[in-house]
């Protein structure tokens, strides 16, 4: 029963559910600035969950991960993306998603699927956070869904980062986080990826006059 757990442990579940909700809000937002704001919220929630897990499971090294997550995914990356969007003058573009309701419903399907997949794993674990494994798997899959349902390069980057968030969350709830070296490495990789994406955005914009990656399917010589 849930009521046998302490309030802190229950709060982990609440935060996990809210993280799942932010994934859906990422899928639902079609304006880039809203998308980036939702992504920032996801980073902040992820950091809060990580800190709470560190507190409940008494794993002090997770505090460092929480601080890293908060500063990188809560502030730095959203801020950089925000600046890029303003610079590329994309703040008013509304992305066309072919059928938003289908995307959301298939997202629900993915959640059910990941619950089904994670069920045997949960039976092996003895941590109180084992129920959250399904949520973290769903976060990865929902990030992938975001990647394939969007054609704007910026939202694909957000989708990529959301997948990374899901993986990080899975590591935190199932095995007390990755080893510190790996975690630091991944954090800086993400940061470098962010810088590279920034450069790529400008390249794509120069070549195609737009960040719609669907246009890359067409060869420019064949055109017209």
């Amino acid at each position: 029963m849930l009521s046998h757990l302490s309030l802190y442990e229950q709060a982990i579940f609440v935060l996990a559910a809210l993280l799942l909700y932010t994934c859906f809000s990422l899928l639902a937002h079609t304006r880039l600035l809203d998308l980036i704001r939702a992504f920032a919220w996801q980073g902040v929630l992820l950091a809060a969950t990580c800190a709470l897990v560190a507190w409940v499971l008494e794993q002090p090294h997770l505090y460092i991960s929480a601080i890293l997550t908060l500063s990188l995914k809560g502030f730095l990356i959203p801020f950089a993306l925000h600046r890029l969007v303003i610079k590329l003058k994309l703040q008013h573009t509304v992305e066309k998603v072919s059928s938003p309701t289908t995307v959301l419903l298939s997202g629900v399907g993915l959640v059910i699927f990941s619950y089904y997949v994670a069920l045997p794993i949960e039976q092996l674990s003895t941590e109180i956070t084992r129920n959250v494994i399904a949520i973290s798997l769903a976060m990865v899959l929902l990030g992938m869904l975001l990647l394939i349902s969007r054609s704007q390069a910026v939202s694909q980057v957000v989708g990529f980062m959301a997948v990374e968030n899901g993986l990080f969350f899975a590591a935190v709830v199932s095995t007390y986080g990755m080893p510190m070296v790996v975690e630091l490495g991944v954090a800086f990789d993400v940061l470098v990826a962010m810088v590279l994406f920034g450069v790529f955005f400008f390249q794509i914009k120069d070549n195609l006059d737009s960040l719609d990656v669907d246009q890359m399917n067409r060869l420019s010589e064949v055109d017209e």
Partner: protein
Amino acid sequence: MDWLLALLQTALFVFGAPLLLGWIKRLKALSQNRQPAPVWQPYRDLRRLFHKEVVIAHHASWLFRITPYIVFGAVVLVASVVPLLVTSLPTAAIADVIVLVGFFALGRFFLALAGMDIGTAFGGMGASREMTIASMAEPAMLMAVFTLAMTASTTNLSTAMLTILHEGLVLRPSFIFAALGLMMVAVAETGRIPVDNPATHLELTMVHEAMILEYSGRYLALIEWAAQIKLMVYGVLVLNLFFPWGIATETTTNALLIGSVVILAKLMLLALILVVSETVVAKMRLFRIPQYLSFAFLLCLLGALSHVILEAGYII
């Protein structure tokens, strides 16, 4: 004694509902820097309408005449089922929460038929819009209800409240989603901003008002009164299901007194939240409403999912 109390509670619902609306209107006027009408203004309006002569179109059939009584009767029945001050009254066993949704649907069905009965453009338009909204709001509401039923292992309102009271303060992710979803559905079902604007007539965006445009006199009074009770039922449902603390579990004078004070305070607070949200949010275009309601449905669905994933099957 218990039956007397149940009767009293239903009467409190029926006669207290206009007061709640008066309070909401007063808060709203204050928030818009207008001179507010007294809180008992809805009673005056109802009395005025009851004294007025009834004008009915020549083409109106018997359906048009009996609809106000059916709508009012269904809502009063619902009000008798929902625990307001005290749980475990005999009336609570009459119907569970799914029947409650059904009663609301019954009232709406007849209202939509009556809207089309006269054959004016407004009535038909309002009826079609109302049914469109209902077809999306009802699944969301049922999903919220199922989430609750899974947690409490019952669909009976009174028993569910007792279960939640008994477990004390437990942070349930499913309840957060279900409460938010149910509030959004309640806004849509009671015709408040941003789905419908209850304060305007003869506007192209109206939904509920368009259906009842042909009614006058005591028929209109009954329908308006039913709408007020419906608003209060939804408010009490949200409050007593998700925050049941304070409700009386036994029929002693003391507990009843505390129960009535607490529910009054909770309703006043909920009205404040409603008014603030109506002031902040603008009325939506009709074509945005499906999006709004599918969001509510998604919230309720997430509530059910997070119950299954995070809460159910948790064995220490």
